[in-house]
C-alpha cells in the first residue's frame, strides 16, 4: 500500500478507559489442530485495536468467536464487565457486536438497500417498508461518503462495491464493538480514506474497533494498540510498535534470506517446446528447461501462463507446435499420460483443483501413484503408509497423523502435502502454478527450500507466480508472456524487477 493515509487523531491516554469487551483464556480446537491456545484479548471503548498475524495464526478463529459464529471450547467473555455467553451471531449483534467478515455475508439476490438494512428490516405489521429501507441504506452510505446503486442486486456489483455494501450494513446497525476483517482488501485508496474517516468518527463516538489487515501501514497508522498472534497464541501486545518489531513477532524470527541460492548448474534440456499454441489461450511459445533449472513464467493474469502449464499436463490440447521431453516428442492427452511421462502439476487453486479436502493426507498424497502402489487394483497399504510418512516427515508437514483430513491443515501445510503428492511420482518435470499463494511467510521459505532442493536433485521446473520477487528470486531464467504471446526470455541477471514489470504491463522494456 503506497496510497495516501489519512491522518487520524488519537485520543490518549487509553489505558484509563474501561475495557468494553474482554476475552480470557479462549481455547479452541478443531480435530487435530489447536486453533487458539489460551488467548486473552480485549478492546476498550473508543480505541482501534489492531490484530495481526500470518495466515493460520488464529486471527480468523478469534474473530469468529467474538462474532459468535464459533463457540470456544474454554474461556470467558465479558461485555462492560458482565460475563456474556453468545450462542449465535444474532445474539452477538443484539449485544452490539458487529463483524465485517472477510468473506462477504451478503444476499446476492437482494438489492443493495435490502442488504444494508436487512438486520433490522423496517416493517409495518410484517410488510416490508421499502421506502424506509431505502432511506436507511442511503443514510448508511452517506456516512461512508460513497454512492452505490441502491436498487441493484448485490451479485451484479463488483467486489469493491460488495465490500462497501458489507461495511455499510455493519454501520447501519448501532455497533458498540466493530470487528473489521481485512476491510480494505478490495477497496481503492479513495474508498479506504473514506473508511478510515469513519473509523475515526466511530472511535470518537466510543465504539471499540478491532482492525485486522495484512497491510502493515494501515495497521500502524490506524491502531492505538496492536496485538500479534502466531500459532494460535498471542505473542505480543504493544502501544507503539514498529514495522520491524511486528514482523519479527509474526514470523518468530528475522526474515533475512528468503530465497535459497541457485546452484546455477543446468544440465541437458528436459523440456523443449517449440512454437506451442493453444488457440485462444496462447500462441507460439518456445523455450527449454534444463535438468535442475527453474524457468519462471512472468505475465499478468490472462497472459496464458496457466494455460501453458495445463497444455504440458494434458489438460489442454495444443493446436500447434511441439513438446519434447528428454528429446522425445510427446503429446499428453490426459493428466494420466503426463504423469506416466514424469510430469507433475501443482495447480494454482489448491482447494478447488489440488486436494480433496475431506480426505486424509495419506489418500491425497497417493492419488497420482495408486497404479504403482497396487497390483490387480489391490493397494499395498503398508507400502503406501511408509511412503507417505517419509514424505510428510521430509517436507516438515505439521500434523498429528497422516490420516488427518487435509481440511484441518493450515494453508502452508496443505501446500506441502500438494507438493509432496507430485514428488511421489518421481517427476522429471514439475509445473508449479502459484506454489505459495495463501501461504504464510514461514511456510513460504520452507517451500522455496523444497523447490531449490528439487532443482538440485535434477528436476526441471516451470514456475508460474504473480509474486514478482518470488519469481525472480527462484528462477534461473524468466520467460515473459504478454497477451498470449512470448515477449522475451531473460537470464537471471537481465531479469530485474523493473524490467519484467514493465514488459508484462506495457510490453516494452523499461
Amino acid at each position: 500500500m503506497s496510497g495516501p493515509m489519512p491522518a487520524v487523531e488519537r485520543a490518549r491516554p487509553l489505558a484509563a478507559r474501561p475495557a468494553l469487551l474482554v476475552l480470557r483464556g479462549i481455547h479452541k480446537e478443531y480435530p487435530g489442530v489447536v486453533a487458539l491456545h489460551d488467548v486473552d484479548f480485549d478492546v476498550r471503548a473508543g480505541e482501534v485495536h489492531g490484530l495481526v498475524g500470518e495466515n493460520g495464526a488464529g486471527k480468523s478463529t478469534l474473530l469468529k468467536i467474538i462474532g459468535a459464529v464459533e463457540r470456544p471450547d474454554a474461556g470467558t467473555m465479558e461485555l462492560d464487565g458482565e460475563p456474556i455467553r453468545l450462542a449465535s451471531p444474532h445474539e452477538a449483534q443484539a449485544a452490539g457486536i458487529r463483524v465485517i467478515h472477510q468473506e462477504f455475508n451478503l444476499f446476492p439476490a437482494l438489492s443493495v438497500a435490502e442488504n444494508i438494512a436487512l438486520d433490522h428490516l423496517p416493517n409495518r405489521r410484517g410488510w416490508v417498508d421499502q421506502r424506509a429501507i431505502r432511506s436507511e441504506a442511503r443514510a448508511a452510505l452517506d456516512r461512508l461518503g460513497v454512492e452505490l446503486p441502491l436498487e441493484s442486486r448485490v451479485d451484479r456489483l463488483g467486489v469493491a462495491d460488495q465490500q462497501l455494501t458489507e461495511i455499510a450494513r455493519a454501520l447501519s446497525a448501532r455497533a458498540r464493538v466493530l470487528v473489521m476483517d481485512e476491510p480494505t482488501a478490495a477497496l481503492t485508496d479513495h474508498e479506504i480514506a473514506a473508511l478510515f474517516r469513519i473509523v475515526g468518527s466511530l472511535r470518537r463516538e466510543g465504539v471499540g474497533i478491532i482492525f485486522v489487515s495484512h497491510r502493515m501501514e494501515e495497521v500502524l497508522d490506524l491502531s492505538d494498540r496492536v496485538t500479534v498472534m502466531r500459532d494460535g497464541r498471542v505473542v505480543g501486545e504493544t502501544d507503539r510498535p514498529t514495522r520491524e518489531q511486528i514482523i519479527r513477532l509474526m514470523v518468530g524470527r528475522d526474515v533475512s534470506e528468503l530465497y535459497p541460492a541457485s546452484t546455477g548448474e543446468v544440465g541437458p534440456a528436459v523440456l523443449e517446446i517449440d512454437r506451442l499454441s493453444v488457440a485462444g489461450r496462447f500462441e507460439e511459445v518456445s523455450f527449454s528447461v534444463g535438468r535442475g533449472e527453474v524457468v519462471g513464467l512472468a505475465g499478468v493474469v490472462g497472459a496464458g501462463r496457466t494455460s501453458l502449464g495445463m497444455a504440458l499436463f494434458g489438460l489442454l490440447r495444443p493446436t500447434g507446435g511441439t513438446i519434447r521431453l528428454e528429446g522425445r516428442s510427446i503429446a499428453p492427452r490426459t493428466p494420466r499420460q503426463a504423469i506416466k511421462l514424469g510430469i507433475g502439476y501443482v495447480p494454482e487453486d489448491r482447494k478447488a483443483l489440488g486436494l480433496v479436502l475431506m480426505l486424509s493426507i495419506r489418500h491425497n498424497e497417493t492419488h497420482p501413484i495408486l497404479p504403482w502402489l497396487s497390483r490387480f487394483g489391490w493397494i499395498n497399504q503398508r507400502r503406501e503408509r511408509v511412503t507417505v510418512e517419509r514424505r510428510i516427515e521430509q517436507l516438515g508437514v505439521r500434523t498429528p497423523s497422516i490420516d488427518a483430513e487435509v481440511l484441518h491443515l493450515s494453508g502452508g501445510n496443505q501446500q506441502k502435502v500438494l507438493l509432496g503428492k507430485w514428488l511421489e511420482i518421481g517427476p522429471r518435470l514439475l509445473i508449479l502454478d502459484e506454489p505459495t499463494r495463501g501461504v504464510d511467510v514461514g511456510a513460504k521459505a520452507e517451500i522455496y527450500e523444497i523447490i531449490a532442493d528439487l532443482a538440485r536433485a535434477g528436476v526441471a521446473i516451470v514456475l508460474i507466480s504473480s509474486d514478482l520477487p518470488e519469481l525472480l528470486g527462484l528462477s534461473d531464467r524468466v520467460v515473459v508472456l504478454r497477451e498470449a504471446r512470448q515477449l522475451a526470455i531473460l537470464s537471471r541477471a537481465e531479469a530485474t524487477q523493473e524490467r519484467v514489470l514493465s514488459l508484462v504491463t506495457t510490453g516494452a522494456a523499461a
Partner: protein, 334 residues
C-alpha cells in the same frame, strides 16, 4: 531439511504407534450402531417373537433386496451422484431372468438378468458423462424406461418361475441361513474390500470429494462415474434375480419405490449425499434399521399407514443424531 531427491532412498521412519491409524473416534461413529442395538433391545422386550431365530432370519431375508440395492447406491452416492432407477431396473432384470430361464435354463437366465442390470447402469453412466444429463434426470428417465420395458417384455403379466436353481437363489437355504442373506453378505464383503483396499475405491472417494482435483491427479473421473452406475445396475440385477426367485414369479410391478428405501439406507448409514464421505458397511446397518423397524411394527400390529410415517420420522431423527457432533460445534456460515 533433508535433501529432496524423488528417486534416492530415504531414511526409514520409526514405526508409528498404532493409535495413529484410528484418528478420530467419536459418538458419531457409533451412534447408528447404538440406535440399532437400542431398537433391537426395545423390540426384544416388547414382543416375544422378535428375538426368535425364525423371525430374525425372516428380517434378514426381507432386508436383503433393499440392502443389495443400497450397496450399489452407496458407490453412486459416494461419487456425489444418485441412482433413482434401481427399483425399475430390478424389475426388468428379474423379468428377463425369468423369461430367459424358462427357455434356456437357469444359467443363461441369471446371466441375462445381470447383463440387463449392468447394461441399464452403463446407459445411465454414459448419459451422465457423455451427454451431460444431470444424474437425477438421467436415472429418473431410466426409472421410467426400465419400468416400461418390463411391462413390454412381460406384456403386463407376471412370469412364473419353475426352475429350481432360480428358486434356490431366492427361497433356498444353506444350512439354516436363507440364500438371500448369504448373497447380501457376499455383496457387502466385496463392496467393503473394494472401497477400502482397491484403487477403484479410492477413485470413488476422490471423485466424489472433489471431482476436478481428482481429474488433476490423473484419475479418469468419467470412467469412475460410469463404473459406479454399472455397479449399481449390476447389483439391481442381482437383487432382481433374488427377488424373482424368492417370489417364484417376476412381477412387472416389483420394486416400485425401492430406490427410495435404498437411498434411505445409505443416508441412515451416514454417507454424505455430497459425496466423498461415508462407508458401505454402515449402509448395511442402515438397511437393517429400516428392516427391523418395519418388522417390529408388524409384530406390534402397527397399521401400515402409520408405519410409513414412523419410517420417515426415524430417518430424520437418525440423520440428525449423526450430525450431533456438528450440531454441538456448530459452525455457521463457514
Amino acid at each position: 531439511m533433508n535433501t529432496l531427491s524423488p528417486d534416492a532412498p530415504q531414511p526409514a521412519l520409526g514405526r508409528e504407534p498404532a493409535a495413529h491409524r484410528r484418528f478420530r473416534i467419536s459418538i458419531v461413529d457409533y451412534g447408528i450402531v447404538i440406535a440399532f442395538l437400542l431398537l433391537c433391545v426395545a423390540l426384544a422386550v416388547l414382543t416375544p417373537t422378535f428375538l426368535t431365530s425364525g423371525n430374525l432370519l425372516n428380517v434378514g431375508r426381507q432386508v436383503s433386496i433393499v440392502a443389495i440395492l443400497a450397496a450399489g447406491q452407496t458407490f453412486v452416492i459416494l461419487t456425489a451422484g444418485i441412482d433413482l432407477s434401481v427399483g425399475s431396473v430390478l424389475a426388468l432384470a428379474g423379468a428377463v431372468a425369468a423369461g430367459v430361464s424358462a427357455s434356456f435354463g437357469w444359467g443363461p437366465g441369471i446371466v441375462a438378468g445381470l447383463l440387463v442390470g449392468g447394461g441399464a447402469g452403463l446407459l445411465n453412466g454414459l448419459a451422465i458423462t457423455l451427454l451431460l444429463v444431470p444424474d437425477f434426470v438421467a436415472t429418473l428417465a431410466m426409472l421410467s424406461i426400465a419400468r416400461g420395458a418390463t411391462l413390454i417384455y412381460t406384456n403386463g403379466q407376471p412370469i412364473s418361475v419353475a426352475d429350481g436353481a432360480m428358486r434356490f437363489l431366492g427361497a433356498g437355504t444353506i444350512g439354516p441361513i436363507p440364500v438371500p442373506i448369504v448373497v447380501t453378505l457376499i455383496v457387502f464383503a466385496v463392496a467393503i474390500v473394494v472401497l477400502r483396499s482397491m484403487t477403484f475405491g479410492r477413485y470413488v472417494y476422490a471423485t466424489g470429494g472433489n471431482r476436478r482435483a481428482a481429474a488433476f491427479s490423473g484419475i479418469d473421473t468419467n470412467r469412475v462415474r460410469v463404473l459406479v452406475y454399472v455397479a449399481s445396475g449390476l447389483l439391481a440385477g442381482i437383487a432382481g434375480v433374488v427377488l424373482t426367485g424368492r417370489l417364484a414369479t417376476a412381477d412387472p410391478q416389483a420394486g416400485v419405490g425401492y430406490e427410495l428405501d435404498a437411498i434411505a439406507a445409505v443416508v441412515l448409514g451416514g454417507t454424505s449425499l455430497f459425496g466423498g464421505e461415508g462407508s458401505v458397511a454402515r449402509t448395511l446397518l442402515g438397511a437393517l434399521i429400516l428392516g427391523v423397524l418395519s418388522n417390529g411394527m408388524n409384530l406390534l400390529d402397527v397399521s401400515p399407514f402409520y408405519q410409513e410415517v414412523v419410517k420417515g420420522v426415524v430417518i430424520v431423527i437418525a440423520v440428525a443424531l449423526g450430525n450431533l457432533e456438528q450440531l454441538r460445534h456448530r459452525t455457521l456460515g463457514a
